[in-house]
Symmetry: D2
Subunit: 327 residues, 4 copies
């Protein structure tokens, strides 16, 4: 049996070196290291890569990390809550503010400020959001899918750090299965009062099921559970396929029986994840665990890439006799 | 300052007597007692009563309690996850089984069993569900709302204990804002492959906003957070109204910044709940706290009713001199 | 396989009737019902009954329930935190107040108020506590055990609802393994500056191990984990015995690796709980789950007792020939 | 108001660079960054530095990090659970193994393996531990304090990575207020059956209170709550001092009223932490958050040190007249 290696801290160590040390620890540390190992596997191999995003990740500052993952080609399908998209759009022209959870909420309201735990938003940014939405929401000739609507919106966002925009640029489908449950939904409904915008409630299902059906292998990173988690998993369910790699970052625990805290093992009983899959759940605040996982994995990919380049260089050097002894 | 009264247990005591004792305790006990006080207030007064339901409440056995609340007239608007409706429909002809969280999930799959923590479902019940859905899903001439679809389905469920059916019987609107994220969504999409079923993604918004707009006073019970919580709260947001009474039963805590654990106070900063509202969050497993709250509140209403009847009898007796000695 | 029975709520139902309904539900509800079944078993059978108590149970109003369990003979060994004993002693002459978690803590300090979440204590009660302790702490000729010190103190508490006093009255040993970590410890140290009070750090171990060693069967109720949980379990560890029945009420979950959230199954790997034991963990706030469990169990015992009395009456009737034909 | 800066991930970035980015995020990320800022402050300034340690930190691989902090002079007082010391001693000659939480606990017992979540221990290491303890436990002429006993044991541990040993080497007092609640306690009691070992239950109190009393400024890092948290805080309580800097890493949340999850703000109402203190709680698994905090802080100290050296070099260069015009 492998033994626990006591973790060593070296000042200035890179994130991945720290995570590598965690691989021989217990509890959350080991799970985080396993998540990085699975994510490296997922991003290096030939997998259709799903990312699902719940919780106020954009207000908390995780937006550029997500759009960067998209731009780097590390996301093939994005399933996301409407709220995160609303805040993504707001960030493209406005901002979120550093607040405090201890504030007087009635006073905040009086001051025109809405609170998300320790992050504040000003009413004027919501007003600008509404104006922007009424400008960029499309009139449709025929009924479209939610995914198509997301793509149309993404094209209109100018900020290249936007999740919606980077998904549009990279041709990554964005699914928002609870779209009515967001201010985008509210704005779309208002827009539809006077203009023609027809979105079919179920059209997204065909699109995502087709992706699942055509995937050779597939991996999923689930941040925060919720509707995005279930929508991605159930889409696989109706195909003969199932996920081969799965990572879940959640603050919920299994004991209450809710989906957000349900183990990935449970998903095997449904056939959503394959019996032979490699998977792990990391319990904890995703504003900490998600950046850690991404930073360590990207570092590892970078090392692998350089390692390959070095090997390639070496190989070409080794093959050119005259240079061999120079090194 | 009021003092803590040490709780006294009397064997055979009713649920409400226990809860009354908790009103002078600390921590969760006091919050539960406050929830009962608010719920009594909500059910006795002239409030539009919202109930939102997330988490696997139906598989866990909370279905009849919900349909009973509807039948008793204690729910004016139901916002619910698709999963709970799927399981509600399955219960109308099939069953959920008492399982264990420790089972081998790959073996369960091989045996055709899906697991929800410690509750099992058999594939045959899903097959029957699919057959039933293909039978009862409606063909539509024009595009309908999700709420209309729910009503159509409710009418076709024969089991009077069904949530969908009791809502139909009582003319209570059922909103399922993430409908595509459920097997009802999957079945509706399949049905739509060969037949005409057109559901507008945003039509529900108008319907629920109208209800919010027209409410005189309003109260909400939020079980488990998620999309139903947000959908109900944001619908109030776009009206000049806000909730006057609010109860939240959740296993999430505020510190992670997610909506399901967000305090109701936070909702005041958004204008979803009024600055003068009475509200409480009870942290814990809703399969324990929800029945406790309902049992204690119904008991209290019953006592009030009998008390009123007695008073009325007494009053009429007192007023009709000739009858006074009849008693 | 047994099926889930949807829970039915009847206004006015007793606590045990509610809990009986939960036995056929999922998640926390079923675990709570199992806890009641095990507790009934424990209190009816020939078991040495351990109760361990952590968390601010006394400030939260759970004191009389505990002292009542002791007085009824349902506790043979109590393992408890020093803080709970401090607050037990304060309740014997003073009080705890109903406060709020939202208060300004610096303002509370300025006002001489200490806060335990939503429960307040006034400095004057601590002053009285200190005076009382300096009066009732014993001078010792020889070195005594912590258990002996607890017994000495219990004798001096006048309030019969006191946990310490009821334990003294019922001759139930009270172990407080982290005694220095409490204001009793602080007071004992101050007392010892001028008087002779010598308590051996390890003497309690022998006493509790002897009890474990001599138990025929044993059961344990663990409220809140912590040092009391571990002390009781490890005492069994050094004997050939192990616990046959075990109930854990905790807010911690297993995933973080800490003892308070560790499963009772884990304790089997250590030999603290027997491989054939019946056990359950109920996750949630013990100010809700503990009273529920106690109320339901006492109700069940009362029914059993009356049932037995009826049977006994009937049996004696049946045995008295002249009455047989009365039926 | 400051705005949220979306976090940027650069492959190969150091831990502190990541944490610096988190300072402008929301939720747990910002709290972690604040913890690092406070810890840098604490380790750079003239503070008496307390570290309290609960939870199975040593089995999980956090031992060398702690002993390294001690060796670097970053700990002035250590308050710790007995269990962590037991595992610290076992690591000095034996090992912990990487296991799994899904194992069959009865089978583990049969195989002589004890489990701590996903970490395994073999019975032979416990046997060696017991033999070692019987060899190194001291006979005492007079009654000693727990702190003295810890010091005596630390001297006998040969492994310089041991927490106990490094504390002895650095002359750092180690307090274990629940000493009887550990296998050290059990061994001490067995040892005392035949030999003379007398430890006073309350003697530690004087020693730690003296340290608190004599501290100019003080800071505390609380890992995991429990008895060590309370013991350190209450020791400050009986002096006119209070903690100026405080960091808490915990998986518990405040809502249940227990001490491990109690806010540091609550401690202000008791006078344990000063009204003007800088403090933060980071919610989450300490096997992730503790190494992150330590790695980032040590990196920052190292940068500061090098920065100072450079400045010093520059300053001496600037002071050497011949070079002055080089500037």
């Amino acid at each position: 049996m492998d033994t626990v290696h006591q973790l060593e801290i070296a000042p200035g160590m890179s994130v991945d070196i720290l995570v590598q040390g965690m691989a021989h620890c217990g509890f959350g540390a080991r799970r985080l290291a396993e998540a990085v190992a699975i994510y490296e596997n997922m991003l290096s191999g030939d997998f259709t890569k799903f990312l699902t995003l719940s919780g106020a990740m954009v207000p908390a500052g995780m937006r550029n990390m997500v759009s960067d993952l998209i731009s780097r080609g590390h996301v093939d399908v994005l399933v996301i809550t409407g709220a995160n998209l609303v805040h993504d759009i707001i960030e493209s022209f406005g901002c979120h503010c550093l607040g405090t959870p201890k504030s007087d909420d009635a006073a905040l309201r009086a001051a025109g400020v809405s609170r998300i735990y320790d992050v504040f938003l000003r009413d004027e940014d919501f007003v600008s959001f509404e104006e922007l939405m009424q400008r960029i929401l499309p009139q449709t000739q025929k009924t479209i899918s939610g995914r198509e609507l997301m793509s149309t919106l993404g094209e209109k966002i100018m900020d290249r750090n936007s999740i919606l925009r980077s998904a549009f640029d990279a041709d990554v489908p964005v699914f928002c299965p609870a779209l009515p449950d967001s201010m985008i939904g509210l704005q779309a409904w208002m827009f539809g009062q006077t203009k023609k915008l027809s979105v079919d409630a179920f059209a997204d299902i065909k699109e995502i099921v087709d992706i699942c059906y055509n995937s050779k292998g597939s991996g999923i990173v689930i941040v925060g559970g919720g509707v995005p988690k279930n929508f991605a998993l159930q889409s696989m369910l109706v195909t003969p396929k199932s996920f081969d790699l799965a990572i879940q970052l959640t603050t919920d625990t299994p004991e209450n029986g809710g989906l957000s805290g349900a183990t990935l093992s449970e998903a095997i009983s449904w056939g959503k994840i394959s019996a032979g899959a490699r998977y792990v759940t990391v319990y904890g605040d995703a504003t900490i665990t998600f950046p850690l996982m991404v930073a360590a994995t990207l570092e590892r990919l970078e090392k692998n890439r350089k390692g390959s380049m070095n090997k390639a260089l070496w190989k070409s050097a080794a093959e050119s006799p005259g240079d061999a002894n120079n090194e």
